[in-house]
């Protein structure tokens, strides 16, 4: 054994490299360089090669058999091809990958100031689409290569080898993310059908302890909101409704309770008493009674409800991490604090998180370690995308209603004839003391043993325990038209979800001449279990939050609870073979068994194979100098998913539910007999949904490593799509109201193109530029649905918007095509006969040309699926300044703007009216408009049909983040022991270019957590994204 010392510098600028790792090849003996780039290492006898590596530099090997002092200049990495990429139970160099694996640029990703891991991934990996709402902490739609199933479209997320989730991860802790899109996911078998996102968190790196701090503080602005009519404009619109409906002053139905019955509307001084003026005896404050005379002044100018419920919201994030490592052990600790206040008042997402990842080396052959992540979160959220959610009642609540009545209590639609919306400010004010807390532990312990030279055995046990706890108070909205005299109630509940994953693998790797072989076999067991319970009581004497305990209610009480369990058991094998670095072949197979299927159809085999040809390694390519690397890939894989299949699926079952099976058989009025009902009809033959994915891809690095690009074409064919049973035998005639099983019914197909391109330019020594573009497209088509060949879905109230039909994409918008407005009775007479036709209402296209507009004239009027989505990242640095910007866009999708039912059709429900609809609707005098005439009642020709009037182009281009940073000179900082200090200013969602006529084109589905395809692209009132402005620092010791 001998000691070798030396220094490591950067070849480019001769600056010392701190923390470069020095490893004796063929051993686990290693060290790291000091801040001045020096190191000292004991080289065991018989060993002579040192491997020197550092992030961002090419590895270098030095023979030290004849020297004991060395000086190494590392070349900056010019290509990412040698990056190690985790691809599912194994890791490969990027250049050896044979499947469609998108490697996320984690450094760029972390620049977007968001609260969830899903949001951070938006536009970062080709083939991955992420859509979020503006609500802090809300769930996002996450799709790899589009929507392909009726059930669960969420990809599998593996965090350090354990089934986890991205939602609550501390983005700062992430070391790398890979997205497996094709047969490369087949090794995950049943869980791989929607793709797999592999997240690896940071480990301690060799060298002295490093402390870093990253933090930002900023403000999210409230945004412009809706352009709603003011009180006078609204009153005029109501009068226009009456006129258009053929009424005259004096007729029954003329006028309004608030604005009188005159020729012109008169804005009253009070809305309670109804339409009252100063001097009315009932406006005397002495007569105020919150139930019978809730004296409320009219807001003559009009209340801007959006403005009232929103605020400029502070947001901040702080992360501190400490890490270190040696040849014996390494550790990474971090603490994170996130406090994102929502632009809706009183709404927030606060998270405290701690991570501890450690590894110990026992001798040369054994490694043990753990990854642990614990967080605690307070994140009460509102309902979003529904007619009762705050951003919906904000456009539904009438402008004449003030926030408060004369006594300082909330005002509302109990003042007569103003619709049935609710005071949106009262709603969110009353939610401010609600709680929704989670604490969650995720992690694993593992051990690895190397033996017999070429073998490594690994075992890992890990899982997630998620505990949730919540309570909320349901107030009596005394100010509302509806539900103003009921009883208050309080609900409190808790639950936990747990899962564990136990994985054992054995790897053999060896090289025979030009043949490189790696074989992996393994087993995996996954178990899910969870329980929840809740209780409700009504009639609380006091609504003070300090009084909110279940025992304090005096009225009706009830409780509920549930539990679930399921498991998976799998065996798998994988072969990776390479010949001379030119011909690469991967093959894998997995056998999965799932508890949710009946015993004889429980198991499935899921094979995958992929191959690549690195053309650039061929001799004939040697002369082609502009190509640095060129690889052609192809893959085929079969995967599966158990979709939304639950443990009840195979069985006929009975249950008891108070609301469904109980009956007061002895006439007590309060004590029904519980009873049983057939709750589930089983289908024992339901089995795996099968996905066959074929993929062809090209990876190239060209022009002196300046440009990397990847193009992928794929086809994903889904057979035996799982969906709630359809077809005659499942009609209520035969099965009553029993819950239907998921069955394998339909076929679906997606095909598309993913593209990514990165351009690195070192324009000069001081000026660098990196541009990355990501392009994702898919084309979705339903191949078969049994029975009628279609089914309808989506929408609110009686409005059905979407049809799933063979030959069309999932969730396509289906209705009447508006070709204009009827301009006159003459126009109506000359047009095909149409129910409810009237001047100023919609003229529909006679699709089948039979002279009559009826249900047969409904047609496909739009699709929620974009032609493509794209992300564009710019990163520039000049000397100590850096600038980056990230843009995300969606092109070619349609949005069904359902909010227009409320804002453009005052007959649909009274309440707020969109300014444009109030002042520019069709009248005989104002015919050059697309906004239909206002009537007292709706009709087939206006708001009682699904039509293209509600379709708006959903394309948008959004600047998701832009920042300017400055790194302070090292010489100045080293005095304080500071290694690196960067400060920056940033804006998120700075601007959006769109023609969408609603608030925000970035729309999640109504219920992202259910992850189904229904309600895709329907705007039911959405929590918008608004610009935010931040300052931040990055600091390393």
């Amino acid at each position: 054994q001998k000691t070798v010392t030396g220094t490591v510098t950067s070849a480019k600028d001769n600056q010392p490299i701190n923390g470069a790792s020095i490893l004796v090849k063929g051993t686990n003996v290693g060290t790291a360089t000091s801040p001045t780039g020096t190191f000292s290492i004991n080289v065991p006898a018989g060993k002579k090669i040192l491997v020197i590596s550092s992030v961002g530099f090419d590895d270098q090997e030095i023979d030290v058999s004849s020297q004991s002092t060395i000086s190494v200049a590392l070349k900056e990495k010019t290509s990412s091809l040698d990056e190690i990429v985790v691809t599912g139970y194994t890791a490969q160099k990027k250049k050896e990958i044979t499947g469609a694996v998108a490697v996320v640029n984690v450094k760029d990703m972390k620049q977007v100031p968001v609260g969830t891991g899903e949001e951070a991934l938006q536009g970062r990996a080709s083939g991955l689409t992420v859509i979020s709402s503006g609500q802090p902490g809300a769930a996002s739609d996450l799709r790899i290569r589009g929507v392909t199933t009726f059930g669960n479209n969420q990809p599998l997320v593996m965090v350090d080898g354990v089934r986890g989730d991205l939602h609550n991860i501390n983005v700062s802790d992430i070391e790398s993310i890979q997205v497996l899109k094709d047969a490369s996911a087949a090794i995950y078998g049943v869980a791989g059908a929607n793709g797999v996102i592999i997240v690896t968190t940071k480990k301690g790196k060799a060298g002295k302890a490093r402390v870093s701090y990253d933090g930002y503080y900023g403000v999210t602005t409230k945004g412009p909101g809706f352009d709603m009519a003011n009180t006078q404009e609204e009153a005029n619109a109501i009068w226009q409704q009456r006129i258009n409906s053929g009424l005259q002053p004096g007729d029954e139905g003329w006028g309004s309770k608030q604005y009188g019955t005159g020729v012109n509307p008169v804005i009253p001084d009070y809305i309670t008493p109804t339409g009252a003026f100063e001097g009315d005896p009932n406006t005397d404050p002495a007569t105020y009674n919150i139930n019978s005379n809730q004296i409320t002044r009219a807001n003559k100018a009009g209340t801007d409800w959006y403005d009232v419920i929103t605020r400029n919201a502070p947001t901040q994030s702080h992360n501190i991490s400490v890490s270190s490592g040696s040849d014996k052990s390494s550790y990474f600790f971090s603490f994170g604090y996130l406090n994102q206040q929502g632009i809706a008042r009183f709404q927030y997402n606060k998270r405290y998180s701690v991570r501890a990842n450690t590894q110990f080396n026992i001798g040369n052959k054994i490694r043990v370690g753990e990854n642990a992540y614990v967080f605690y979160k307070n994140n009460p959220t509102y309902g979003n995308q529904g007619e009762g959610s705050p951003f919906s009642v904000a456009f539904r609540e009438d402008a004449i209603i003030p926030v408060y009545d004369i006594a300082g209590n909330f005002a509302g639609t109990k003042s007569q004839d103003l619709g049935n919306a609710q005071n949106p400010y009262a709603n969110i004010y009353r939610s401010k003391d609600n709680k929704s807390n989670n604490w969650d532990i995720t992690g694993n312990v593992y051990a690895e043993v190397d033996f017999l030279k070429h073998f490594t055995a690994r075992t890992s046990f890990g899982g997630v325990v998620d505990n949730n706890y919540y309570y909320y108070f349901s107030y009596v909205g005394y100010e509302n038209a509806e539900g103003n005299t009921g009883a208050n109630s309080f609900t409190e509940g808790a639950g936990y979800n747990s899962s564990w994953t136990y994985t054992n693998t054995l790897t053999y790797g060896n090289t025979f001449g030009n043949h490189n072989v790696k074989v992996l076999v393994g087993t995996e067991a996954v178990n899910y279990y969870g329980r929840n319970l809740s209780g409700t009581r009504s009639n609380y004497f006091s609504e003070n939050p300090n009084y909110w305990v279940l025992g304090a209610g005096t009225g009706t009480q009830s409780n509920a609870g549930g539990a679930y369990q399921s498991s998976l058991w799998s065996q798998f094998a994988k072969l990776e073979y390479g010949y001379a670095g030119k011909y690469l072949l991967n093959a894998s197979i997995r056998r999965d068994g799932a508890s949710v299927f009946a015993e004889d159809v429980r198991y499935g085999y899921f094979p995958g194979v992929s191959a690549a040809w690195r053309i650039s390694q061929e001799n004939f390519m040697k002369g082609v100098s502009f190509i640095n690397d060129l690889k052609l890939r192809g893959s085929w894989g079969k995967m599966g998913t158990a979709g939304n299949v639950g443990a009840t699926n195979p069985f006929n079952l009975y249950s008891t539910r108070l609301g469904r099976s109980a009956y007061d058989i002895s006439g007590t009025s309060t004590s029904p007999y519980a009873g049983f009902f057939r709750s589930n009809v089983g289908n024992p033959s339901t089995t795996w949904e099968g996905d066959i994915i074929t993929n062809i891809g090209v990876d190239a690095t060209i022009l002196k490593n300046k440009i990397d690009f990847t193009v992928e074409w794929y086809k994903k064919k889904v057979n035996d799509l799982l969906y709630g049973a359809q077809g005659p035998q499942w009609a209520s005639l035969y099965v009553g109201d029993a819950g239907l099983p998921q069955v394998n019914i339909a076929d679906n197909q997606n095909s598309g193109l993913d593209l990514s391109l990165t351009y690195h330019a070192n324009v000069s020594k001081d000026f660098k530029l990196d541009v990355t573009g990501i392009f994702t497209s898919y084309k979705n088509k339903i191949v078969s649905i049994p029975g009628s060949g279609y089914f309808d879905a989506g929408g609110i109230r009686n409005v059905v918007i979407q049809r799933n039909e063979v030959g069309h994409p999932l969730g396509a918008f289906f209705g009447y095509d508006v070709i204009g407005l009827f301009q006159s009775q003459d126009d109506i007479d000359k047009s095909p006969s149409q129910p409810g036709a009237a001047p100023g209402l919609f003229k529909y296209r006679d699709v089948n040309n039979d002279g009559t507009i009826d249900a047969n004239d409904r047609t496909y009027i739009g699709s929620p699926h974009p032609d493509f989505t794209y992300g564009l990242n710019l990163a520039m640095s000049y000397k100590s300044f850096d600038f980056s910007a990230f843009f995300f866009g969606s092109k070619g999708n349609d949005i069904y703007n359902q909010t227009l039912y409320y804002t453009d059709f005052p007959d649909f429900f009274k309440g707020g009216i969109r300014r444009e609809a109030a002042v520019n609707s069709w009248t005989p005098e104002n015919t050059n408009t697309s906004i239909p005439a206002l009537y007292n009642t709706g009709s087939f020709s206006s708001d009682q049909s699904t039509s293209s009037y509600f379709i708006s182009k959903g394309s948008y281009f959004r600047c998701k983040q832009m920042q300017l940073g400055y790194t302070l000179p090292g010489t100045l900082l080293s005095r304080f022991g500071i290694e690196h200090l960067r400060i920056y200013v940033q804006s998120a969602n700075l601007f959006t270019i769109t023609k969408y006529n609603g608030l925000d084109p970035e729309l999640t589905s109504t219920d992202p957590s259910s992850a189904n395809a229904n309600n895709l692209g329907i705007d039911q009132g959405n929590y918008p994204h608004t610009p935010s402005y931040l300052v931040g620092i990055n600091l390393n010791f």
Partner: protein, 565 residues
């Protein structure tokens, strides 16, 4: 590892073998009863409620839908008969009734698996199940006409809606008549007499008047409630709608409701209070807290006009000034039942104070000026017979107010019809007068300035709230007159109870009555503007298109759409 590890039974449910015991089967039977209120199965809704307020009420001249025209828009076409097979209200009733029928079949399927049930009890269980199965099919039959009889032998291969199902309904009811006891300790169960009454109703709908008459006379003479109380008309008319007086001597068959049982916040289904009528309360005031639906029509109010003898204006009720007209109200005599049937401006609304008129009406132009009252509760009953129904639109009130499906007055008036049909005019008149007689007692009338006794549904003190005058018929001069008088009496006695449209179809007068009614109102009621009832088509509602599409989708035609749709 694998085999046991992958056996993960569902939690919180029962398999059929566990249910197959005496207690289990009785529980499944309760599950079959639990849909009698029209709520609690997937796909249910306001249209499936036991009161049939949409199909029997809004579709007739009894009531307007109420609220804003676009609210529960699927019920709007019932006002003007623009209903189409894709209407969203019709599948609610269709699915609910077939769910009920299948729950009955579940009882019959599980029963033989249970070995611990004494034979007599087993027979009673099947008899109750078959009664309920007949009831669910009866509801389907009167609404949809051409239906499938879903008994335990129904398969894909023998499904058809072109076969007459009356014999199946009768067979189930005859089994129930033969095997049900007269009394049970649970007063909400159906007994032999309820079975006879439903069988009589079946005969009425088939115009088998003589068969019906025999049964009805037996019921009137000997019938008793499940509690063993002899059937009788209650002294106070409104006691029939009072949650404190449910399952009384007048109750032949009713949907039992309950509150404060924890079901109001159980969104696995709909709560056990009268959820079907949860919208049918005054708007912004009074009981219920929501939503201003099911407003009695002006025509119904006018039908309560009486002449100097206290008899109804059988031909001219709609002429002259309108009752409670906003500008020039009718000032003559009224049948006192009017103010137990609808809330009118200035008249006490139980103990909620005087009805304020349009302040409680959501959209007077479309809804008219009256509020329903038979499904509500007294202010003094709040909290004892009500419950919070947490709905997203706010805390609404649920009521433990049974829904009358057959009450004894109904039975007596069927007998009157049969008597009139048989030409026994004296008997017909006597039956009608029995029903009228109980409201001749002025102590039972609505009073101003008195106090409402919610325990007995009567006012104490005060003076008559309006000019009430009701008298008994002294002669039915002809068969035609008798039939007209009986039909008019049914309208008055059973108004707002969901029978009216089905009665009109049964009488064969729906076209003349409804189209004349629409003509009178089309110029002032926006939803009546183009209303027209078409004979040969609108006797029945369309069969839900989705059900037809689905059941015929494999190429076998199992369901045929009703004529005209």
């Amino acid at each position: 590892c694998s085999k046991d590890f992958l056996n993960k039974p569902p939690l919180g449910t029962l398999n059929p073998e566990i249910v197959a015991s005496e207690v289990g089967v009785q529980g499944v039977l309760i599950g079959a009863y639990s849909l009698v209120d029209g709520e609690g199965a997937s796909g249910d809704g306001f249209a499936s409620g036991a009161s049939n307020w949409i199909f029997g009420g809004v579709a007739s001249d009894d009531a307007n839908k109420g609220s804003d025209p676009s609210d529960v828009a699927d019920a709007a076409p019932m006002e003007d008969w623009t209903i189409t097979p894709t209407n969203g209200a019709i599948p609610q009733k269709w699915k609910l009734c077939y769910s009920g029928a299948q729950r009955c079949n579940d009882v019959l399927r599980v029963l033989p698996l249970a070995t611990d049930i004494p034979a007599e009890e087993a027979t009673q269980i099947s008899a109750q199940a078959r009664f309920l199965r007949a009831f669910y099919h009866f509801e389907l039959k009167k609404i949809f006409g051409n239906i499938v009889y879903a008994d335990e032998n129904l398969t894909l291969d023998n499904t058809t809606n072109t076969t007459d199902v009356w014999p199946n309904i009768e067979a189930d009811l005859n089994f129930a008549v033969d095997n049900l006891p007269e009394t049970f300790s649970d007063e909400g169960r159906v007994n032999k007499w309820a079975a006879k009454a439903l069988l009589a109703k079946t005969y009425m709908f088939q115009h088998k008047y003589s068969d019906a008459y025999t049964l009805l006379k037996d019921i009137i003479a000997n019938g008793k409630t499940t509690k063993g109380e002899k059937y009788a008309l209650l002294p106070h008319f409104y006691s029939n709608f009072n949650p404190a007086q449910k399952n009384s001597a007048e109750s032949v068959f009713a949907a039992q409701t309950s509150v404060q049982d924890g079901s109001s916040v159980d969104w696995g289904g709909d709560p056990n209070g009268n959820y079907g009528d949860i919208l049918n309360f005054p708007y912004t005031g009074g009981p219920g807290a929501c939503c201003g639906f099911y407003n009695p029509s002006q025509d119904l109010a006018d039908a309560f006009k009486t002449d100097a003898n206290g008899l109804p204006l059988l031909d001219t009720w709609y002429s002259g000034n309108h009752v409670s007209d906003v500008t020039t109200p009718y000032v003559g005599n009224l049948d006192p039942r009017i103010d137990w049937t609808m809330g009118r401006k200035g008249i006490p609304y139980l103990d909620w104070g005087n009805h304020p008129g349009d302040a409680w009406i959501r959209n007077p132009g479309a809804d008219g000026h009256f509020s329903p009252i038979k499904n509500v509760y007294a202010a003094s009953q709040k909290d004892s017979y009500t419950d919070v129904g947490s709905a997203y639109w706010g805390p609404t009130e649920l009521v433990a107010n049974n829904v009358n499906i057959i009450r004894f007055a109904d039975v007596i008036l069927w007998a009157a019809e049969c008597a009139a049909d048989a030409g026994d005019l004296a008997a017909a008149m006597d039956y009608v007068n029995q029903v009228r007689d109980r409201v001749t007692d002025s102590n039972t009338w609505v009073k101003k300035g008195g106090s409402y006794d919610a325990a007995n549904a009567v006012y104490t003190g005060g003076t008559n709230a309006d000019t009430y005058k009701i008298g008994l018929y002294t002669s039915f001069p002809s068969k035609d007159y008798a039939i007209k008088a009986v039909q008019f009496e049914r309208r008055l006695e059973l108004a707002m109870e969901g029978h009216r449209f089905f009665d009109l179809v049964r009488y064969g007068t729906a076209g003349t009555v409804l189209n004349a009614y629409y003509d009178r109102y089309r110029s002032i009621m926006p939803l009546k503007a183009n209303a027209h009832w078409t004979a040969g088509k609108n006797e029945y509602f369309p069969i839900p298109q989705g059900e037809i599409d689905n059941l015929n989708s494999d190429g076998t035609e199992r369901l045929v759409q009703n004529p005209g749709y």
